[in-house]
C-alpha cells in the first residue's frame, strides 16, 4: 500500500515541485492551498506525513499545526518556511512540528526527512531497542560497543552517534544538515565539507577491510547505510 502525504502549500510552483517529486517516489499526495482546507484534510488522520507551509492564506501554518495537535492527531508534520532563522525554527518546533525545513530546499532533503519521520513514528511506541545492526555491523547501545564482522570498531563519541543515526535510518538517505541537526544540534550549513570528512573517517573505520561496503554516498543528497549498494 502506498503512503499518503498531505501537502499544504499556497505557492503553486513549490507545491508542484513537492507533489511531483513525492509522486515520482511512489507516494499518494493530497493537496491543499490554504490553511482551512489543510486542517480539514489533516483531521482525517489518515496521512503518513503532512508537509505544511508556514505562511498560508486564510489560516497561518502555525495555527493549523496547533489545531491539528489540539485535535490529538499525531501525524508527523514537516514545516516549510522561507523564514530560515533559528528563532523561527524554534517557534515551529515548539508549536508541535516534527521537523522544519527552510525554503529553498533540495527535494532530496525533504524526501529524506519524510522518510526519516516514517521510521520514527512507529518505533517511538515500541519497546526501547538496545541493539542496532546492518548486515554484519552491530551496535550495542548499552555497552556502546560496535562490531563489524566480529571485529571490534573503536569510535569517537560523535562517530558513534553518527553511526547510530545512520543505523536507525538504514536504507534511507540521511542528509548532511540532518546529521548536523541531530548529532551536533546546530541548524546551519557549514560552508566547508566538515560532515563529509567525519563520514569518510567513519567509513574508513567500519568498511575498511570488508568486502561489502555499507556506508554509501548518495549523490546530491547525502549518505545511506545499507546492505545493498
Amino acid at each position: 500500500m502506498s503512503k499518503k502525504i498531505l501537502v499544504v502549500e499556497d505557492d503553486e510552483t513549490t507545491a508542484d515541485y513537492v507533489v511531483g517529486g513525492l509522486e515520482q517516489n511512489g507516494f499518494v499526495v493530497d493537496r491543499a492551498s490554504n490553511g482551512r482546507d489543510g486542517l480539514f484534510h489533516a483531521t482525517d488522520g489518515k496521512y503518513a506525513a503532512i508537509v505544511l507551509d508556514r505562511m498560508l492564506p486564510g489560516m497561518d501554518g502555525l495555527s493549523v499545526l496547533s489545531a491539528i495537535r489540539a485535535a490529538g492527531i499525531q501525524t508527523p508534520v514537516i514545516l516549510l518556511s522561507a523564514l530560515g532563522a533559528t528563532d523561527e525554527r524554534v517557534k515551529g518546533l515548539n508549536a508541535g512540528s516534527d521537523d522544519y525545513l527552510t525554503k529553498p530546499f533540495a527535494f532530496s532533503e525533504l524526501l529524506a526527512r519524510i522518510e526519516a519521520l516514517q521510521r520514527r513514528a512507529p518505533t517511538a511506541a515500541q519497546s526501547v531497542t538496545t541493539t542496532l545492526s546492518c548486515a554484519d555491523l552491530k551496535m550495542d547501545l548499552l555497552t556502546r560497543r560496535v562490531e563489524r564482522g566480529g571485529r571490534r570498531v573503536d569510535l569517537q563519541p560523535r562517530e558513534f552517534r553518527l553511526l547510530e543515526m545512520l543505523l536507525r535510518n538504514q536504507g534511507k538517505v540521511v542528509t548532511r544538515t540532518m546529521m548536523l541537526e541531530e548529532v551536533w544540534d546546530y541548524h546551519f550549513d557549514p560552508g566547508t565539507n566538515v560532515i563529509d570528512v567525519h563520514i569518510s573517517r567513519l567509513r574508513k573505520k567500519i568498511d575498511e577491510g570488508s568486502d561489502a561496503l555499507l556506508l554509501h554516498t548518495v549523490r546530491g543528497a547525502g549518505y545511506m547505510l545499507s546492505e545493498n549498494a
Binding site: D87, A106, G191, T192, V197, G220
Partner: protein, 456 residues
Amino acid sequence: MSKAGRRVVPFSARARAAVFSLAFSLLISVPVLLFVYRQTDSLFEQRVRGGIDDRERDLLYGYRSGKIPGLVGEIKEEIDTGLVRNGAVLLVDGSGRKVAGNVEEWPGELRAGERWVEMPLYPERSRQPVPYVLRTVRLPTGERLLLGASIEDRDHMRASLFEALIGALVLAILLGLVGGMILLRVTERQAREVGKVAGRIAAGDFSHRLDEQAGGEEFAMIASAINTMLERIEELVEQLRLVTDSLAHDLRSPLTRMRANIESAANYASAEPEQRALEAISTDIDRLLRMISATLEIGRAEAGVGREQFSEFNLSELLADICEMYQPVVEEQGLTIRVEGEQGLVYFGNRQLIGRALANLADNALNYGAGGGAIILSSIDRGEEVEIVVSDCGPGIPAELREDAVRKYRRLEPARTTEGSGLGLALVRAVARLHGGEIILEDNAPGLKVRMVLRR
C-alpha cells in the same frame, strides 16, 4: 559595545562643571557682598559725620551767642551731659593752651580747618590710642576748636562685616558647588537616558522611546527630536527588511526551481560528463542560495532579530563542539585545532548564532590559515564581557585591510581565488553586535587573531 568603544564621562568634565558653577556663584556673590560692604560702611560714616555736624552747629551757636565763655559753657555741658561719651572735644587758645575739653592737648601735626581726618587720640583716662575721626575749626578770635568721634565701632563693624562676608562667600561657594553637582547629575541622568536609548538602537532594538515628559523643556525638545528620528529609522529599517526579505525570497524561488530541474535532468542524464556538469551547476546554485541565506541572516541579526532566542548555554562546550566538528577537516589540511581557556563558561545569548559565527571563524582559519600551525579557539571571561578568540598561523590580514575584511561581500584580493562568499566575517560581526559586542581583528604574529567580544 566593547569597553574600549564605550565613552565614560571623564572626570575632567565633572571638574569643569564644578569650576564653572563655582566661578558663576563667585561672579554673582562677590559684587553683591562688596556692595553690601560699601553701603554699610558709608552709612556708618554718614551717621558719624551727621553727629559731628550737629555738635559743630550747637557749639558754634554757643560761640556766636556768648563768645568764648558761651562756647566753653556749651563744651562743659556737652561733657557733663555725656553727649560726647564716644566723642572728643577740645578748645585751645591762640597759643595752643587748652581752654576746655576732654582731650589733653592739640595733636601737633593737626592743622585747623580740617573737615575729616582720621587719627588716633588718647581720650582722658585712656592709655590706649583710640581711632578717631576729627574736625577742626579756627575761630575768628584765634582759638581753635577740635571735634572728634570715635570710629572704633566702625572698625569693629568692619571686622565683623568682613567676617560675615567671608562666611557668606564660603556658603555661596558651597551652594554653588552643590547646586552645580545636582544640575550636573540631573543633566547627566538625562543624557545617560538618551545614551542608553541610542545604545539600544545601535544594537538593533528600535522599539525604545525617550520619555518626553521627563526633564525640562530643553530635554523634552531633544527627546521629541530623537523620537521622531527613531520613528523614521524604524520605518526605514522595516522597509529595508521587507525589501531584502522579499528580494531574497524572489531570488530563492527561481533558484529553487532551477535546482529542481537540474536534479531531474541529472536523473535522466546517463553520461558521466553530463552528470558532472549538472552537479557543478547544482553546487554553484547551492552556493548562491547559501549567500542569500547568509545575507538574510546578517540582515536579521543586524536588525536585532534573534534576541528572543537568548538562553543560557555552556560556551566552553560550544567551543569544544566546533573544535570537534572541524578537527577531521582541519587535520586533512595538515593543520591542528584545539581549545584553550575557560572551562564551564556559561553565557546568555543565542547559541545557534554564536555557533554559526564560530563555525565561520573556523572556516576562515581553515581556508586562509594555510601554511601549517594550529588553529586555536579560546574563551576569556572578563566579567562584564566574554571574549571568544580564534587564531590561526596563516598569512594574516595587513592592518590596513582589516576593517575591509569585516564588510559584507568584501573579499581580500589575494583570497579571491579560494571559495567563499565574503560574508563570513560580516556575519560574525552582526552576531557579535546582536550580543552588544564587536569583533576585533589582530595580528597573531604570524597569522590572524579574531577576537569576538560579547557583552553580558
